[in-house]
């Protein structure tokens, strides 16, 4: 989606420019209707800030890498806790 151009004082007559207003409304509605699938989640704050959370937990594991024991960090989806 293309960015909405900023208005410039004295150059844009009014926000009653219907095309520009609808473009802005469509974008906001698109953001508000955004959905995320696990392990992602979206949250839009009242000020419009979009928070994207990734529900993955880092776990240090010992694994065999090319025949040598090595420590690595893997990210695992946290179990659903009710």
């Amino acid at each position: 989606m293309a960015k909405i151009e900023k208005v410039i004082k004295g150059q844009h007559p009014s926000l009653l420019d219907a095309d520009k207003a609808n473009e802005l409304i469509s974008m906001v509605n698109g953001i508000l209707s955004s959905r995320a699938q696990d392990p992602l989640s979206l949250k839009v704050d009242s000020d419009g800030t979009i928070n994207i959370n990734v529900a993955l937990s880092p776990i240090e594991v010992t694994m065999c890498v090319n025949g040598i024991p090595a420590k690595r960090v893997i990210y695992m989806q946290a179990p659903n806790e009710e």
């Binding site: 240090e60 594991v61 010992t62 694994m63 025949g67 024991p69 690595r72 893997i74």
Partner: protein, 221 residues
């Protein structure tokens, strides 16, 4: 009893870094399956074993013109550490298990003598009461963590062999005796078999003793 640092291993999702060999034990009349925790204890945490094994034989020919005598003896009674300088997390790269033989002998440079062997093993099996392609037949895990092997020989040929195996599944028909035993806190079977007899006479005497080995495991803080 050594202490190891706790760790999380990325294995095959089955408690081990490999897929254990499957064994159909439906025809075995001595089966004592292990729990997953017991099998994992053997694979990941077995640290050492201490054997108690001692045998000897002597030969004396008192008759001239060529009187001679031989005497051979060997014993195993020291702690055998499975993987010195290695810790349980290093076992993540073992594709099946670890096996270590510790031997002691007397007279091996000659054609006669005593040979003793103590074996530790962390190989794990999956036991099935029926065909191994049906997971419904799975009953638990198997292992043979310790073995003794005794060989008394003369003229390059053993005249007496004794095998003792400590494990989870045996056929009575393959052994002289099979009896329950607990070593390292794990309930197993002890299977014994002798080939030949310990000679006892005026010119040759042989014999020995053994006790069940002890097993030591890593612990975690």
């Amino acid at each position: 009893m050594p202490t190891a640092t706790p760790f999380t291993a990325l294995g095959r999702g089955n408690g081990f870094p490999f897929c254990p060999t499957k064994v159909d034990v439906s025809t075995f009349d001595n089966v004592r399956e292990l729990t997953l925790a017991e099998a994992m204890k053997i694979f990941w945490n077995l640290y050492s074993g201490t054997p108690t094994l001692s045998y000897s034989w002597t030969y004396t020919s008192p008759t001239p013109p060529n009187p001679e005598s031989y005497s051979y003896s060997a014993s195993l009674n020291s702690e055998v550490v499975l993987t010195p300088d290695k810790y349980p997390h290093d076992r993540v790269c073992y594709v099946s298990g670890i096996s270590l033989n510790e031997s002691e002998s007397d007279g091996t440079e000659e054609d006669r003598g005593v040979f003793l062997r103590f074996q530790l093993s962390t190989f794990i099996r999956r036991l099935y009461n029926g065909v191994t392609t049906d997971e419904d037949n799975f009953i638990g895990y198997g292992a043979f963590p310790a073995r003794y092997w005794t060989e008394l020989y003369g003229s390059f040929v053993p005249f007496y062999i004794k095998m003792i195996s400590y494990g989870t599944h045996f056929k009575s028909s393959d052994w002289d005796s099979v009896s329950p035993v607990t070593i390292g806190g794990i309930d197993l079977f002890k299977a014994e078999r002798e080939i030949g007899t310990e000679p006892s006479g005026t010119d040759i005497v042989a014999g020995g003793t053994e006790s069940d080995p002890t097993l030591d495991f890593y612990t975690y803080p």
